[in-house]
Amino acid sequence: MEFLSPATWEEALAAKSERPDAVPIMGGTDVMVEINFDRRRPPALIDLTRVPGLREWRADGDGVRLGAGVPYTGIVDALGGAAPALAAAARSVASPQIRNRGSVGGNLGGASPAGDAHPPLLATDAVVELASVGGVRRVPAREFYLGPRRTARRDDELIAAVLLPAPAGPQRFAKVGTRNAMVIAVVSFALALDARSRTVGTGIGSAGPTPLRAPGAEEFAAAEFDWEGGAPLPESAVHRFGELVAAAARPIDDVRGSAGYRRHALAVLARRALARAAADYREGGARCA
């Protein structure tokens, strides 16, 4: 196995262009597990940890440009205000050791449907910045996940950053796991209310071949929600929202839970998220809107 260790972003892009079959490695918390389990033996690894800038984030217009390699710990520490749903998801990832290494870029690179970063990126309409020697492309997260572990990233591209829009309302992330820490989600759900555009964003994890949105639920909630005063939604509307989210899921039975349980738990998470986001909206409306 070859080990490529580019010192600059340009070298990294060149390496990836020359060796499209080379596997990038950032935190290594997925790559090393796969190698250890003998699931793959890549012909070459491209180590991105020495590339300057990948582990940094900065303001970008209203929002934030999050380097692909920023570890979850950094997101938890710095972005609780700028990206609340993603920060909540980052907090729920694995253990401190894994959070110190694992990155959103790696989560996107692996594109496991159970990845915790995906639902917040979907719900908040974040944008993935892809780069190659040919240039930079910006792909909305909502168009990024194409199939089981298949994404819009081409083989010669690296993920450079994720653009996180400034929140314009409350955001929520919730996860049902098989235990309290170090868990791969049984299901996860993210919700973002956008007071500016008066839209609702959703993201579903671990309940389909890819991370999913629930467009029907989004439209329903946007129409039902009291964008002026944030009045509590009627129980029936919250319930209906949960049903619509669950209906958008395409879960399977596996070691972690049955499809039936996943749908059910997802509806519960969605109801709780909406009710709480509405309450947040009433209380902190001025702050967010």
Partner: protein, 809 residues
Amino acid sequence: MATRMFGMPVQRTEDERLITGKGGYLDDLGAGAYAAAFVRSPHAHARVRDIDVTGALDVEGLVAVYTHEDLSGPMAEPLPLLIPHPAILDGRTPYALAKEYVHYVGEPVVMVVARDRYVAEDAVGRIAVDYETLDPVVGIEAAARAERVVHAGMSDNVAAHLVQEVGDARAAIAAAPNRIELDLDIERSACTPMEGRGVYARWDGRDAMLRLYSSTQTASGVRAAVAAKLGLQLGQVEVVVPDVGGGFGVKIVHPWPEELMVPWAARALGHEVKWAEDRREHFTAAAHERAQRQHVTVGFDDEGRLLGLDVDILHDNGAYLPYGIIVPIVTSTQLLGPYKPGAYRVEFRSLYTTTAIVTPYRGAGRPQGVFAMERTMDAIAAHLGMDRADVRAANFIQPEEMPYDQGLLFQDGRPLIYDSGDYPASLEKIKKLVGWDDFTAYRDAARAEGRKVGIGLACYVEGTGPGPYEGGHVQVETSGKVRVATGLTTQGQGHQTALAQIVADELGVPMSDISVTTGDTRRMPYSVGTFASRGAVMSGSAVALAARRLKEKALRIAADALEADAEDLEIVDGRVQVRGTPSAGIELGTVAVLSNPLRYAFDEASKAATQFTGAADYTRPPVAADDEPGLEGTDFYSPLRSTFASGMHAVVVETDPETAEIRILRYCVVHDCGKLVNPLIVEGQVHGGVAQGVAGALYERMEYDSGGQLLNASFMDFLMPYASEVPKVEIDHLETPSPLNPLGIKGAGEAGVIPGAAVIAAAVEDAEGFAITRMPVSPSELFHLRRRFDKGGIAPLPGAYSRTGEANA
């Protein structure tokens, strides 16, 4: 008089070394050794048609490749059946390397030895084994149905069949005013110690001596087994057990195929060889436990008293039976707990399946037995509308009935006679600790807020400290330092501390002067091993007896030197002195000098023992005919029977009405292991046990698919509970001394885990209002149970609450 160490919460002296990274584990040894790796069966059941190793031969650094064809003599024969029993109908054991058939995924087929593990693994990857796949047999149901058979030459999958009966249980049940039947089910889990198995062998050709290091729970067992297989005299084999990163039962199995192949290869190659297991190997190719199905029929009177109990157990023993049928024997005898069952009949069938072998895991069959009995107690309470604690109290053996003979044969082949215990007192303590009598009010208040909480109670009796024996050797050096050795091994129990406490009291020396060695056949060749909560009872008693012998000798020699009467001497702080006149005394180290008459001096101290010093008594030889040189004592403790510890757990859980997540709010333990050598260590043992009990109740299972592949063979999917899942444990002790051993102690190593599944099932059941009969239970499973319950597919518990919160009649 110095402070008595026995009973003190002394900090564990080994911990500083272990938690600061100074431990020396198997894989820390043998840096220059060749590494072994194994080609393992990818199939649950197959015939090996051909092995083609040519692809591996040009791997740079390869040393050797071995298959079964390379083995001869005893090495080519199946591994021993360690614990034979008349109830075993057809006891199959594996070969060191598969001969013709493989019977589980992970079974070793080819051994590769190479310069290092990387090279060895590369070579493993290039060896092609041609298999003819055969039908797998996975799960108890498939094994019992026997449409497919695991072992060629058998007509079914029954490895062993045993019936034990006291009285006529079936007649008693038929005549009883009340009768219930239950079907219960427990899944597989495993010990999963932090450190897997490992073996490192050094063959010294010139001396024809084998030094074997193994991460094992029995040094003497490994020594005997390896000597027999390799055709060596016992005296040619030394087994040394380094620090062991946990065992929990799995490392009592011996010899493992790898434990034979590594020394065999070391001798064949004339070079050190080492193998350290990786995690996936441990999941698939070590051992599991727990899986059982039980059918219980019970007859009882209107006060809840058992009149007859009939239990039918199907036990999954995996692919082979190297450890015999200890686990189902323990289940079927320890099931009785603190109760008088009336007439009792228990029958088990131990079944082969094409999965990893099943051997004792902390608790060793007791968690299943307690599950059966305690689920039965709760079912009786529900049936009669009685308080669950009252039903238990109605069936307790009373303290004045001790010793109590249950009329069965226990796992040590000796009568199941409880030596002591006070179960009513334990029940009072646990009820008080958990607030049993106030719980109904709490539950009702929670229910009114839409919360679901429940309480459970479970009792157990645990036979600990079985024989046949364990030895102790205590020696005082001329420096005054005391060396203690016992043969059984240690893997985190705190033996170094507890045994030193015992010797400190017996000899009157400070603990800081005492060092303890375990699991080294060079220091104590006669031993059995560490299992069945026997360390403190067996080796604790043995070192106490050995120290008493040493003390007697020390006092005799000192009495001579001080011209005093031995009766008037005492040892305080390492100094023998005349009681009441402490100025007249002599250091123990000096006594050690005097105990060994010398011709040659080698330091200041030894001068005193040479032949021209001091007043010699020309009428006696320097060493008397009935004496030996040296200040040492050796003795062995061999108990009449096991000693029976007991305890009760109570737990409060909350289940999420929507997501069905299960949270433990309180976990209370009342524990009676006789006299406590060290309460801190005992509580640590209970905490660890509770963690594993919680694991078995809510998290851990071995997920085999129907083809016999283990789907969750990593810590990502096999859910071990973390600190975030393990509740705070509230403990109260009762000390009912054992009359069987010199210290009055009982074992404590397994207690915490035993009632875990039973007590958590009881609490979830109480929260939900319908019976829980299968463990572990995950949120997903609880959700589906609720669905079935809502649709009328599960009967509500009589007297419990329905889902709408209203009491059922």
